[in-house]
């Protein structure tokens, strides 16, 4: 069994190490300092952060409601959280394209914000991919904290909001933080829905995963490797961050 675990480790490590076969060539360094590469890194970081921010703003109260209350349609809402996990990201992106061609979608585009082939489209695609996941992960963190803590806090004089931020939030903070980091990582690496809504315009809507795709499509191996390595670096840093959040408090 330990052998199997080592095999998986060697498999992934080998995959990453194989990238270094092309590292160091002239094209590699050029690709690294290329303004379009730097743009796609910056765009990915900003878009993923904004998308995660919105996912938390909406996901945290949703997670709390799903964790603490019984209400009509709770199971249906709970099931819908998994929609982005079960349908293909391209299908998700295509659904948005269809939506923006409906009268309501056109109205939003005309009078509100332009999404199709624009940066807000990237954020929307990433948000759609992670909102359900973020809610599900945060709900799991909140589920670990007994509602009795809040009940006692309320009997001691805290309002429901005070009981949440003085008791539940600090107790579940590490779990919530890990949920946010993982959601951010998923948004950062999102490709299918993003490319469908926002397209692949270098210097405008080209995020890192899209840039890898276009680099490969145009046989620019060095650029693809640079971007993959950066993506791997952020991915590993994220996972390390999640590990660092460690275990929570010992509960009674």
């Amino acid at each position: 069994m330990i052998g199997a675990a080592i095999c998986i480790f060697v498999f992934y490590l080998g995959l990453i190490l194989s990238l270094f076969y092309f590292v160091g060539g002239k094209g590699f360094w050029e690709a690294l300092i290329n303004p379009y590469t730097l743009f796609s890194i910056r765009l990915s970081l900003i878009a993923a952060t904004i998308a995660t921010f919105f996912a938390v703003i909406i996901g945290l109260p949703s997670a709390y409601a799903l964790s603490r209350f019984e209400f009509m349609g709770k199971r249906i809402v709970d099931t819908f959280l998994e929609i982005p996990m079960i349908i293909s990201p391209i299908a998700l992106g295509a659904s948005f394209l269809v939506f923006f061609n409906t009268p309501l979608g056109e109205l939003i585009q005309r009078k509100g914000i332009l999404f199709v082939f624009e940066v807000p489209g990237i954020i929307l695609a990433q948000f759609a991919s992670i909102a359900g996941l973020a809610t599900r992960l945060m709900k799991a963190s909140l589920d670990e904290i007994s509602p009795r803590y809040e009940a006692v806090a309320r009997s001691l004089g805290s309002s429901s909001w005070q009981a949440f931020y003085r008791i539940t939030l600090p107790l579940s903070f590490k779990g919530l933080l890990a949920s946010v980091i993982l959601s951010w990582a998923k948004a950062f690496g999102e490709f299918g829905a993003t490319v469908t809504i926002a397209g692949a315009m270098p210097g405008k809507t080209e995020t890192m995963p899209i840039a890898i795709f276009t680099a490969l499509a145009s046989a620019n191996i060095e650029k693809a490797i640079v971007l993959i390595l950066i993506l791997v670096f952020f991915g590993l840093a994220t996972l390390y961050g999640v590990r660092m959040t460690g275990k929570g408090y010992r509960y009674d």
Binding site: S146, R148, Y149, A151, V152, A153, R154, S155, L156, G157, S158, S159, S160, Q162, R166, I167, P170, L171, Y249, R250, Y251, D252
Partner: protein, 364 residues
């Protein structure tokens, strides 16, 4: 005074209809009933954490059933205590005072006195994870009392403790109540706790209040066989009222051929001749008459000869199982150790036992 009236709770399979309880200021009131009868739900409804279908709750003259828990001035100590694990003991204790924006200085002396009574001075800088079971109980009690609630609700405060710790917490609760006189409603299934600590007890069985009364009323004079059985009372017999001794104002009861005499004056509601009743004799009120010792006239009315068939040493007292010679009626008799040693009892010995009339109790 705290009053709960017409409390109706329908929750999943649990149904409670029209529950009521009255608690005087400074009273230690026990809600005593078997496990699984919804006692915790009653507490949660009073504290506002569960919304009952119906019911009124008064704290003094103030109706509180429609206001949120944080405004009710009712502190709640659940069975699992739920000390806040991310806060030190000191922060846990002061939580209520800070949450209510009370003046910390005004409460300092009182909280210090509580800390001293509860003997937790050395624990203030610790986190709950580093406390023993007994220490956690003490901190949870103190945290609940610190903001001076109008009512303190305790859910099985003495369950899950080692016997020695349990005795210690019982004593602390007693001292705490004697020193600070909080108004307490405590739910438990343990009648020993209720007996030791309760001023007043409500017996709650199968969703119904069976009896409310002072401690001695409940334990010495249970209202029904159901209550007596729940309290684990021994020496319960089915009896029939044989007749009345008009001159002595006494009733004669028959238990399988053995006759007992009880004073009529104890029962304001008349018990008719021929009625089937339940007779209860307290094991600690049965006297074994020492050989050669004369018996007072008042005891002669319920004097029986028989044989000891079993003796059990229960540590602080002995339980002697006795059987009357006539009709073979078995009694359980509790005797303190010092008395037991003087009596020289052994299995098989023939002795006489006398029952004080007041120690007999009839339920119908």
């Amino acid at each position: 005074m705290i009053r709960v009236e017409g409390l109706t709770i329908l929750f999943e399979s649990f149904r409670l209809m029209d529950f009521h309880v009255e608690i005087e200021e400074g009273e230690f009131h026990f809600l005593l009933g078997p496990t699984g009868v919804g006692k915790t739900l009653i507490l949660e409804s009073i504290t506002g954490l569960h919304k009952p279908q119906k019911g009124m709750i008064w704290i003094g003259e103030k109706k509180v059933q429609d206001i949120p828990p944080e405004q009710r001035e009712i502190s709640y100590v659940p069975q699992d205590l739920t000390l806040f694990p991310h806060l030190k003991v000191k922060e846990n204790i002061l939580y209520g005072i800070k949450a209510k924006n009370l003046n910390l200085q005004a409460y300092e002396e009182y909280v210090q006195a509580l800390i001293q009574v509860m003997k937790i001075e050395h624990l203030l800088e610790r986190y709950p994870a580093n406390l023993s079971g007994g220490e956690k109980k003490r901190v949870a009690l103190l945290r609940a009392l610190a903001p001076r609630p109008k009512l303190l609700l305790l859910d099985e405060p003495l369950s899950g403790l080692d016997p020695s710790i349990k005795i210690e917490i019982q004593q602390l609760l007693k001292t705490l109540h004697a020193s600070f006189h909080p108004t307490v409603l405590c739910v438990t299934h343990d009648f020993e706790d209720a007996y030791l600590l309760g001023d007043k007890i409500t017996i709650f069985i199968d969703g119904k209040i069976e009896q409310v009364g002072k401690r001695d009323d409940i334990f010495l004079r249970p209202k029904s066989k159901k209550v007596a059985q729940f309290l684990g009372l021994k020496n319960l017999f089915r009896a029939k009222v044989l007749g009345r001794e008009e001159e002595l104002q006494r009733l004669i009861l028959n238990v399988n051929g053995l006759q007992f005499s009880i004073p009529e004056s104890l029962y304001p509601d008349q018990i008719g001749v021929g009625k089937e009743v339940d007779l209860f004799i307290r094991p600690e009120e049965v006297m074994i008459i020492r050989e050669g010792k004369s018996v007072k006239d008042s005891l002669k009315r319920n004097l029986f000869e028989g044989e000891i068939f079993d003796i059990t040493d229960r540590g602080r007292y002995h339980v002697v199982n006795f059987q009357t010679r006539v009709e073979k009626i078995p009694f359980e008799i509790s005797i303190p150790n010092y008395a037991f040693r003087n009596l020289g009892l052994s299995v098989g010995k023939v002795v006489k036992v006398a029952l004080r009339e007041e120690s007999l109790w009839v339920m119908w």
